[in-house]
């Protein structure tokens, strides 16, 4: 990553803040106070920081998961569905085995099942790509839609919890509390898993032959074949890992934060980490270590936006608009070459 991109990202984030200021003005809020609240509410207050770190966990994991096939220019848009299936599998095994296994073993089992669930859900589009050449962007996206409704069905059907029967809010039964991921000062220990995953995938991509072959495929398929890469194996493995890791994010979310399987969480765009993970990974130039920063940053912006909502009574839709603007502009910052545009228009 060269110096140009970070500068551009900062430039565009400032631009997004300027536009947000306008929106705040329209809503009769002082932009300076609003942005100060955004920053302190997301990053500086104790409550805000804890929430930001907890949101960073699934966002980081899913973004890192997406990076793996993205390196090979295999566009896995299906992180959301894989994330959902990981959480379904993890919850199911958690409810089945809770009490019969000691906590640590149960959590291990849940991680494994979450991985399997996510990886399985990633397979149909991958195999269709490998054997029939179908466009993965479409197929992975479709798999998300199916996953969302399947989750709905599970929580009003086979996995419906007793509370849901009363409240009519679809959800599963809660995982018994001794079997959950512990918290330290409010922060889920899932953060350690998330950081470990980012570091492991960074090493995998940089130091292994598999990572190298993904880069070759991303650069030129013909060059990759010439270099002896096994395209099918690499693609398959990248999607098994991608889906599996996205699935683990689902497990950590259920076992660390929500404690029940709650479809609502997966249909709200701000918590649809499978989608939000895409810009987060792109802003980080598909580097898993930089993704730690970008995931943390955008989680902070989200929580700062919530803080603005509470402090100034700004409508939730407006603060989420601001969150979306920040992300949109940051992505523009990595995708274009500002220097070139300036030189062009300057010459006129």
């Amino acid at each position: 990553m060269n110096i140009r991109k970070p500068i551009q990202i900062i430039f565009f984030i400032i631009l997004a803040l300027l536009i947000s200021s306008l929106l705040l003005l329209i809503d009769h809020v002082s932009p300076i106070a609003g942005i100060a609240e955004l920053i302190s509410g997301g990053f500086l207050t104790h409550y805000g920081l804890v929430a930001t770190i907890n949101d960073t966990i699934p966002l980081l994991i899913v973004a890192v998961a997406i990076i793996i096939p993205f390196i090979a220019k295999f566009w896995n848009i299906g992180g959301q569905g894989q994330y959902i299936f990981g959480s379904i599998f993890a919850t199911w095994i958690g409810l089945e085995l809770a009490g019969s296994l000691p906590g640590a073993l149960l959590i291990t089992a849940a991680i494994i099942f979450a991985f399997i669930g996510g990886a399985l859900w990633a397979m149909p589009p991958t195999l269709m790509k490998i054997y029939f050449g179908t466009n993965e962007i479409i197929t992975t996206l479709m798999m998300n839609f199916i996953a969302v409704y399947f989750l709905d069905y599970m929580t009003i059907g086979p996995m419906e919890g007793s509370i849901a029967k009363i409240t009519h809010v679809p959800s599963s039964a809660p995982i018994p509390s001794p079997d959950l991921l512990p918290h330290i000062g409010g922060v889920s220990t899932g953060i350690f898993m998330a950081l470990a995953i980012a570091v492991i995938i960074f090493i995998l991509l940089r130091y292994t032959n598999f990572g190298y072959e993904l880069k070759l495929i991303g650069s030129s398929i013909d060059a990759a074949r010439y270099a002896g890469a096994s395209l099918r194996r690499d693609l398959l493995l990248s999607m098994v890992l991608s889906g599996g890791i996205a699935g683990i994010a689902g497990m950590i979310q259920v076992f660390g934060i929500t404690t029940v399987l709650l479809p609502q969480v997966f249909s709200d765009i701000t918590t649809s980490f499978g989608y939000v993970g895409i810009p987060v990974a792109l802003v980080a130039s598909l580097n898993p270590l930089i993704t730690i920063i970008s995931a943390f940053f955008f989680s902070g912006v989200l929580n700062g936006a919530y803080a603005m909502e509470i402090s100034f009574g700004i409508p939730i839709d407006l603060v989420i608009t601001i969150y979306g603007l920040m992300m949109f502009f940051a992505v523009i910052g990595v995708m274009i070459n500002l220097g070139r545009i300036f030189r062009r228009s300057g010459a006129k």
């Binding site: 940089r206 130091y207 292994t208 032959n209 190298y212 072959e213 880069k215 070759l216 991303g218 650069s219 030129s220 013909d222 060059a223 990759a224 074949r225 010439y226 270099a227 002896g228 890469a229 096994s230 030189r343 062009r344 010459a347």
Partner: protein, 498 residues
């Protein structure tokens, strides 16, 4: 004309205060060593790059060319070395892109008329209903030229247009260029082949290290004078010393049949044998199955029948990796799409055929120190002009990238090397160097399968030559029996019973 043009890339001064004039209706050859700045200079004229300094004047009036659209509206068109046609579209559809005729879409019939007109005027023949991916390189080039003409270009820039053409196609191209000239077009042609420059050009400009070092009209010019201008010395064409090597290792192809892209049999029962310590040349007009043969030997293309053996070991069922491990190396013709992954660094490109084992992969982890060292060795031994091994391969000039690929394949361990047009796009000095390296690879006991469109190159380097015609291979011709006319006749089918 271009005045005082300067173009810098990070760490490289690619074009250094160049004045370049172009007169109407002339054919102008732009020459120079690899990395001299020819492509960059023309890219400035075509608006791909913006000059850091200097101006462009047309008929005495200063113009701004910021992109290809600007260039086109000034009547300037360029055919890059790598074409920009859409492979799955037909010729007609490709030609209609970007063309507008009052309304939104151009009537495809009108295009047909225009093409027929062009055919008549310039002798550019083309089947417009074919898909581009089915065309030969020469045909694709014709489509590119037509595209520019349709967009109203009066000045055509051709970047190394002949480097992947057959001699016959070169003749045709030059005929068309002369016809275009007499229709009033101005043409710039970049080339490394001096006799071509002397054949077609009215004037030449030579660049060296980004500066103009020589300008002249054609009259009275000799290849020697041009070579000296280009590299500052004259190049002795060496007499290659072929030493006798005794080894019983061999690469054997037996009755190989291979299907082509158009689903027709392109290689039909081909057989040949490359011994260790020899160079086996494959002569033939391109499109007679050489490409498919080589790809199939390397495992990039499935074979329909026949066997391939290395040192008696059957590798027909192996994948690419297995064949590389069995001792095969390959310098492909497609340097930017196959021979290198151009978005990756030279370091990563240096281990394309060794990324699975020692010393680059130690205990499952890439050893970047060893990888960078190897890349640096290639860069220094083959005099690749590159800032360092961390630059992406796409930053190299065409010839320098070729030198890097050749260097990689020569310097790694292999016992047989397949090489397709290894010196295409190289300057005179680099060509000599690469040829000498091929010979020394042979003298050290390696076997070389050399495919080249340049018959002189084959005659100079090969121990034996096999001719390919319509997918079939001839019996090998021994070096003592080399006869240019006879082999030329075989390339046209003599001695092949169809």
């Amino acid at each position: 004309m271009m005045k005082g043009i300067v173009k810098r890339f990070p760490g490289v001064l690619a074009v250094d205060h160049v004045d370049f004039e172009l007169y109407p209706k002339e054919i102008h050859a732009l020459l120079g060593e690899n990395g001299a700045g020819k492509t960059t200079l023309m890219n400035v004229l075509y608006g791909v790059y913006r000059a850091d300094e200097g101006q462009i004047l047309i008929n005495g009036k200063q113009v701004r060319i910021r992109n290809a659209v600007d260039a086109q509206s000034n009547g300037i068109g360029m055919v890059h070395q790598h074409f920009s046609l859409i492979p799955v579209f037909t010729v007609k559809e490709n030609l209609s892109i970007g063309l507008r005729d009052g309304g939104f879409r151009l009537n495809l019939n009108q295009i047909k008329l225009k093409i027929e007109e062009a055919e008549e005027k310039y002798g550019i023949e083309i089947d417009i209903d074919k898909k581009v991916q089915q065309l030969s390189v020469g045909e694709q080039q014709r489509v590119e030229i037509l595209k520019l003409l349709f967009r109203g270009a009066s000045t055509l820039i051709l970047d190394e247009p002949t480097s992947s053409l057959t001699p016959q196609e070169v003749v045709n191209l030059f005929k068309s260029l002369r016809a275009l000239q007499s229709e009033g077009k101005t043409i710039v042609i970049i080339t490394h082949k001096l006799y071509e420059a002397l054949d077609i050009a009215d004037r030449v400009t030579v660049l060296r290290k980004g500066k103009v070092v020589f300008k002249a009209i054609k009259e009275g010019l000799t290849p020697q004078a041009l070579t000296e201008a280009m590299i500052g010395r004259s190049v002795e064409l060496s007499n290659y010393k072929m030493e006798k090597v005794s080894s019983r290792n061999s690469l054997i192809v037996e009755g190989l049949s291979v299907m082509g892209d158009r689903n027709e049999e392109m290689v039909i029962g081909a057989s040949l044998e490359v011994h260790a310590g020899e160079i086996l040349g494959i002569a033939g007009v391109s499109g007679n199955g050489q490409k498919e043969l080589i790809e199939s030997i390397f495992g990039l293309r499935a074979s329909k029948g026949g066997r391939i053996l290395i040192n008696g070991h059957d590798i027909t069922k192996y994948g690419v990796k297995g064949r590389i491990k069995a001792g095969l190396g390959y310098i492909p013709e497609e340097r930017k799409t196959r021979g290198a992954a151009i978005s990756l660094s030279l370091s990563l490109n240096s281990v394309m055929h060794d990324h699975w084992g020692q010393p680059y992969l130690t205990r499952g982890a890439f050893n970047y120190k060893a990888i960078r060292k190897f890349a640096r060795e290639i860069i220094s031994s083959f005099k690749v002009a590159a800032k360092d091994e961390s630059v992406p391969a796409r930053d190299l000039s065409g010839g320098n990238l070729q030198k890097f690929i050749v260097g990689r394949e020569m310097m790694r361990n292999s016992s047989f090397l397949m090489s397709v047009n290894p010196t295409s796009g190289l300057d005179v000095g680099a060509t000599e160097y690469v040829r000498n390296e091929i010979v020394s690879y042979r003298n050290k006991g390696g076997g070389v399968l050399l495919v080249s469109e340049d018959l002189d190159e084959l005659l100079a380097l090969s121990d034996r030559i096999v001719v390919m015609y319509r997918g079939k291979t001839s019996k090998p011709v021994e070096r003592k029996d080399f006869d240019k006319l006879k082999i030329g006749a075989m390339m046209l089918g003599e001695g092949f019973n169809s």
